[in-house]
């Protein structure tokens, strides 16, 4: 075991997989010599060479097209999209090609690609360095969508993703790269060394894609969330003293609805939290499934606490980023509702 932040954990996952399998390579803008603008691929160029830590032209659509061809030819590309805000030029290749290839070819062709991309706000990045576009990908069948909330999961999930034959979009909440962030932006930043899940095995291990984690148990309300917001929700739960069960779904598709169901069956109340904009966010899908499957257990309407339906504003970062207070208020409303 070693202390790692998210960046180191992700780096370790890639390093291990590249070491095992020469078909694994990392590619993207500035990922080679420089090691990525967030340093996630640091050292891989030196260790595996320019051919396997491959700098690429600035054309996300081109990077994806090329990655698919590589995947079809037996490689296992790990593509970095520098910011998830810049994934849109690649959407056609992802949605029309990558996601559908196995199906449309009757199972003959597939491309085992992982798309890693930093997402989310909280870093003063304004509207083009703060987006959380995960919901788009959950609507395109054929893709798995993952978002870890800590170094342990990050490494284990990334290894699972690299070793999977399905295409996977792997979102990395950049605000927690260096430490868990509970939304208290006016306090000193914490490091991952202060968090139990900052303890990470140095060797190979997997965290299963499609399984949620119960972060902490509780009896009165279920809080379903992922990424960044796990820590903000945890902060809210701890500060409020509410007995909430906190679920980190970790994987959006396939969603581990059973774990959520079991919890809501127990608590009868549920709130869903994410940073992405409200309308048609993945919260709507979670809410829908909980409503469909736990209707008779529900004692109060399920609430969503999310980013607003506006572009992410530079000046109002902390009014946009869902706060502990908004989460606590939602839990309280849910508890009071009868």
């Amino acid at each position: 075991m070693a202390n790692m932040n998210m960046i180191q954990a992700l780096n370790s996952a890639m390093d291990i997989c590249m070491d095992i399998d020469p078909n694994v390579l990392v590619m993207g803008e500035d990922v080679g010599y420089f090691g990525g603008v967030f340093r996630c691929t640091d050292g891989l160029y030196k260790k595996y060479g320019a051919h396997r830590a491959l700098d690429m032209p600035i054309a996300e659509g081109g990077i994806m097209g090329v990655a698919i061809g590589m995947g079809v030819n037996g490689l296992r590309p790990i593509v970095e999209i520098q910011f998830s805000d810049y994934i849109y030029p690649a959407i056609d290749q992802i949605v029309s090609e990558l996601a559908r290839l196995r199906h449309r070819s009757g199972g003959e062709f597939f491309a085992p690609i992982v798309i890693r991309t930093p997402c989310g706000g909280g870093i003063r990045g304004g509207q083009t360095h703060s987006q959380s576009p995960e919901a788009f990908f959950t609507h395109a069948c054929g893709l798995k969508t993952v978002m870890p909330s800590n170094p342990y999961d990050a490494k284990g999930l990334l290894i699972s993703a690299i070793e999977s034959n399905d295409p996977i979009i792997f979102f990395e909440p950049k605000r927690i790269y260096n430490g868990p962030f509970d939304g208290s932006h006016d306090q000193v930043a914490k490091a991952w060394s202060s968090h139990p899940l900052g303890e990470v095995p140095v060797e190979h291990y997997r965290v299963e894609i499609g399984s949620a984690a119960v972060v902490q148990e509780g009896t009165d309300v279920t809080v379903v969330t992922y990424g960044n917001m796990v820590h903000v929700a945890q902060g809210a739960i701890n500060a409020s003293g509410i007995s909430a069960e906190l679920i980190d779904i970790r994987t959006l598709i396939p969603l581990d609805i059973d774990t959520i169901k079991a919890s809501v069956a127990k608590t009868g109340r549920c709130i869903v939290v994410h940073e992405a904009t409200l309308t048609s966010g993945f919260g709507a899908e979670i809410l829908a499934q909980v409503q469909e499957q736990c209707f008779w257990h529900l004692k109060a309407p399920i609430e969503r606490v999310t980013g607003w339906d506006t572009p992410y504003p530079h000046a109002f970062e902390w009014q946009y980023f869902p706060s502990q207070k908004r989460i606590t208020d939602a839990m309280l409303r849910t508890l009071e509702s009868n």
Binding site: G62, S105, G142, D166
Partner: protein, 417 residues
């Protein structure tokens, strides 16, 4: 709910915008006389590792081998036996017979859709024959000829078109969206151009693995405008990927003339500024296509990177079974096309060589037409779109992922509802 009309804010404009023209429209007479057709002896054949700029003339000329006298001439004459030529002719005739039959079957309601490659058969057949079977092909939808060259089962092609129980892609795609891993023929996409940059990635992987296989891809003239074509050129050139990038310039993109994509110059020229040599070739000249493809394949295998080949040809028929070309182009425009018909030209060449005759041609045509009929009956026996049998309905939920995840399993269990 009717509200009053808003007032007109401005008068009309005197537009200065340039809008390209068509080669003909239903009310005009086709005229291709502005196209200069050079004799085969006019072009030169560079060394395979020549720099893109140093062979620029080939992007603006037309590489030809078969002259008006139906004989070979010029520097591009390939080494090719009469047997091979006869095989090429047979494949082309076979494709045409197949296309004609399938088109008719669509018109009779047996297929939901069909697309012919009439007039363009030389391109896929000659290219397919000039490649190695281990080379990977990323075609568009008008390169069915490649599958004939690679000896794909005709019945199986028909079964795909019928979406029946023997369709290897399980009824999932419209007719003609073939996929054949066994034949190194990539799954066709309905989305234009996407396969172009994928071919480059495939080639990069081959180079990364130290292999000497190459990738080949095709787009139409209209499709050259798509982003993926640029991506293919940028990435292909940056990493010197072993690929051949073909543009089949058949003059039309549904109803839109090539002038909306060519920017008033040749397509072949487009690669040069990205350090990719461009060659424009007479796409109806089997031998010229063959020779240019061999050259480009050799360049790719030697590490010279991509070649951008424009096949100058003509889409003799409608875009697909969904359109009527008489609604948007001059009647019989194909008759005015100055480069003739590829099948007829190869036939005349073989006859001129004394290697073929009208009688043989007739017999072969007849034989192929009969075999197509037999294959069609055979294919129908495996089912049809309307009447089945198909794959089991539950198969729809397979192959979305490698393994069916719980939510899809649940849905597949509901489908009986």
């Amino acid at each position: 709910m009717t509200s009053k009309q808003p007032e007109q804010s401005v008068k009309s404009y005197h537009s200065k915008l340039f809008v390209p023209q068509a080669s003909s429209r239903p009310d005009t007479t086709p005229d291709f006389s502005h196209i200069a057709i050079p004799p085969p002896t006019d072009s030169h054949k560079p060394e395979v590792l020549t720099g893109a700029l140093d062979m620029q003339d080939l992007a603006y000329g037309i590489v030809r081998v078969l002259g008006d006298d139906h004989l070979c001439a010029g520097p591009w004459v390939p080494e090719i036996s009469a047997d091979t030529l006869r095989l090429g002719l047979k494949h082309m005739l076979h494709v045409r017979a197949f296309d004609d039959r399938m088109f008719k079957m669509q018109r009779q309601g047996k297929l939901s859709f069909y697309m012919k490659s009439t007039g363009e058969e030389a391109i896929s057949v000659a290219q397919g024959m000039a490649l190695r079977t281990t080379d990977m092909m990323f075609p568009s939808y008008r390169q069915q000829g490649l599958l004939f060259v690679r000896e794909h089962s005709i019945v199986d092609l028909m079964c795909q078109c019928l979406s029946n129980a023997k369709d290897n892609i399980k009824g999932r795609q419209m007719p003609i969206f073939y996929s054949s891993k066994q034949h190194n023929f990539f799954s066709l996409s309905g989305n234009l151009a996407t396969q172009y940059s994928q071919a480059v990635g495939w080639g990069m992987a081959a180079a990364y693995k130290g292999e000497d296989r190459i990738a080949v891809s095709w787009v139409g003239d209209g499709t050259t405008a798509a982003a993926d074509v640029y991506h293919a050129l940028v990435f292909g050139s940056t990493y010197k990927a072993p690929v051949i990038l073909n543009v089949v310039n058949n003059q039309w993109a549904i109803s839109t003339p090539q002038s909306f994509a060519s920017t008033g110059t040749t397509f072949a020229a487009r690669g040069i500024g990205l350090n990719v040599p461009g060659i424009r070739v007479d796409g109806n000249d089997f031998l010229a296509v063959y020779a240019v493809t061999q050259w480009a394949a050799e360049r790719a295998r030697q590490g010279g990177g991509p070649t951008f080949i424009e096949h100058f040809t003509y889409r003799t028929e409608g875009h697909s079974t969904s359109d009527n070309p008489d609604a948007y182009r001059g009647k019989n425009e194909a008759k005015y096309w100055p480069l003739g018909d590829p099948i007829n030209r190869l036939k005349q060449h073989l006859i001129a060589l004394g290697e073929w005759s009208e009688a043989q041609h007739l017999a072969l045509t007849e034989e192929l037409s009969q075999s197509i009929t037999a294959h069609w009956q055979e294919a129908l026996a495996f089912g049809s779109l309307d009447n089945g049998p198909h794959w089991p309905v539950s198969s729809m939920f397979e192959d979305v992922f490698e393994e069916i995840p719980p939510h899809l399993l649940a849905q597949s269990q509901k489908i009986g509802d």
